[in-house]
Amino acid sequence: MTGEITGVVFTFLLTLLLAYPLGKYIARVFSGEKSFMDLMNPAERFFFRVSGIDPKEPMNWKQFLKAMLTINMLWLVYAMLLLVFQDKLPLNPDGNGGQTPDLAFNTAISFLVNCNLQHYSGESGLTYFTQLFVITFLQFVSAATGIAALAGMLNGLKHKTTQNLGNFWNLFTRSITRILLPLCIIGAVLLAFNGTPTSFDGKDTITTLQGDSVQVSRGPAAGMIAIKHLGTNGGGWFGTNSAHPLENPNYFTNILEMVMQVVIPVALLFALGFYLNRRKLARVLFGIMTLGMLCLLIPTIMAEVGGNPAIEKMGITQATGAMEGKEVRFGPAASAYWSTVTTIISTGSVNSMHDSSMPVSGLMQLLGMMINAFYGGCGVGILNYLIYIIIAVFISGLMVGRTPEFMGHKVEAREVKIAALVTLLSAFLIKGFVALAAYMVAHHPEMAWAVKPGSWLNNPSYHGFSEMLYEYTSANANNGSGFEGLGDNNVFWNVTTGIVLLLARFIPIIGPVAIIGLLANKKFIPDSPGTLRIDSWTFGIMTFAVIIVINALSFFPALTLGPLAEYFSLY
């Protein structure tokens, strides 16, 4: 077991070691300074010319958001069409069928918004064509959208008073050509050399050593698995995601995939420090977020290493921890670490089945997604954290009786209203839809959908409730992991989670960008002794407290009905 804990510590330290220089580099990309990746200059100039883009054209926050939303809506239509008609398109060696319209709606939105809920299994629900032209494509562009939104926000904060958030097209394109794509190539090559398939061959049929005839699904998976992590997307090539032995072949690739999903979100924190020249702020943000992560991680590792008490009662020792839904090559500690990072960072890939996690781990996974700002997804994690900061600024301002200020700009009613609405949205979407789903299960179990409500739940009682709570929490956090026992490929889940996904992606991007756009427009007030210093540890702890209070008020009752009740029934 020691080796497994050391493995986790090593993985985290390695992530930090790589994130620091990467953050420095990303700050250079945002500011357009010279770097070794200037070798992409000719390619980028070509892309801009073909697309009719003037990369230097300034955009105010409204123009910035319009550009972002236009191209995103276009991708939605494009992705849906391809998914429905994938059986008529090339690169389909396994002869898989088209997706139903409701499933295509859900899948297209889910990948568009960087969530990657998958109500299908990759082996049978997609073709190689849609795996590449829809899934891989959206995994790149949705991550780049998030990074570009963050860069726009930083531009608003960098200058004392400005209208210009930078050019969305330019920031978006460079996020791909200079950050995501080069890192993906490194990651994909490492995966390929460790046994992840890359060729376009279809299923193989073999006779096993014992004489059974089985098939083995394959495909050009390595490239997709790299961007699924680096872009904090999380959608797997195969049905069981990174628990699948071809998607995540050994302990080395497990470390690699865990580093890949955490490195950009952490690097973006450091990038914020370098870019705004506020390194102390970056340190405080990093410290508070790491504290939050540890609060979720340590109980998870303890619960998983400790094993299932119900199985212990049968007389089984469980020296290797709770192994249901886990793989021997990873063990419980690395699986626990993965389940924590994948839920705080909105990746949503899994290397163990979260549905079979211990109740404490399930609780921590849910909390990670509800808070959704400890590191958080590519770009959007910091945007989510900004909302908490604005609320903390407001409350602190009230406590000391001064007009609240954020980085030299007065925070007034309009900004606080936006922040409050964004915060309330999560609780409203998650609890409202869980209530609706629970109502359907209880009162209309025979509704004639592809999966009847009576058969939705794979587990009875509290855990069944947790399955529904997890699904909407994951959709709202744009996370994409699931308690996968839930029978979710039917019109109810496809449509309702699709709605949650759209609202929960774009409102939390529009809100913070609008706040920054409004603030950046205001008169700059230089620091004085009475200024609230947001880069102090006191204010960091204040924000941490605000995060806990808001989420406890919003979600404690729901958590009581699910994982907490299960915990007390089991121990």
Binding site: V141, C184, I206, P220, P245, Y251, S357, N459, G485
Partner: protein, 187 residues
């Protein structure tokens, strides 16, 4: 609006070519240089492919080492975990049945020596590995089924135990398929 749409269309086409065509083809080309030429590494017996190194197989005969229970029945056309929650009574009954069945097939072992992974389903349903403890506990059965000395099989298990990464990180494990292939070759 019109300008945004025109840029959006053209930039989308550019990005499709870059991310969905050029990138996967580059990776596929590099993949050809890897040990499995990008198709997945296989295990052969007498020149015939008997399985993929990384994909677990079903072993039910007493003369082979068994892998873990699987919710996908080891058919790698798909993959699946059980997704059973830890407090689910049906699931706990299933675990109890697996314990009983394991004891019947492996006479003389004690219940508390059965490693947890032998009675719980893996995440992928295709887990190719078991822990060394899970292999050692089956040695007696296999020795009886094959008429071989236990010591001989134990040393085979030792030889097939893969140490943690770099000797320090993660669990020790054994690839069941590779171990069984070696077992068939044992005289």
């Amino acid at each position: 609006m019109k300008k945004n749409l025109s840029i959006s269309l053209r930039l989308t086409l550019v990005m499709i070519v870059l991310c969905a065509v050029v990138y996967p083809l580059v990776i596929a080309a590099v993949g050809k240089l890897t040990p499995g030429v990008g198709k997945g590494q296989t295990e052969k017996v007498n020149g015939k492919v008997v399985g993929y190194s990384n994909v677990g197989q079903k072993f039910t005969q007493d003369k082979y080492f068994w892998g873990r229970p699987s919710a996908a029945d080891y058919n790698a056309a798909g993959s699946a975990g059980s997704n059973k929650g830890p407090s689910n009574p049906d699931y706990l009954q299933l675990v109890q049945d697996r314990i009983n069945s394991f004891l019947v097939h492996n006479p003389g072992i004690r219940k508390e020596d059965i490693p947890a992974e032998m009675v719980t389903a893996s995440g992928s349903g295709l887990d190719p590995h078991i822990s060394p403890a899970s292999a050692f506990i089956q040695v007696k059965r296999i020795a009886a089924a094959r008429g071989l000395a236990e010591e001989k099989i134990k040393s085979l298990v030792d030889a097939h135990t893969e140490a943690p990464l770099a000797g320090v990180f993660g669990p020790s494990k054994i690839n069941v398929l590779q171990l069984n292939i070696a077992l068939d070759e044992l005289k």
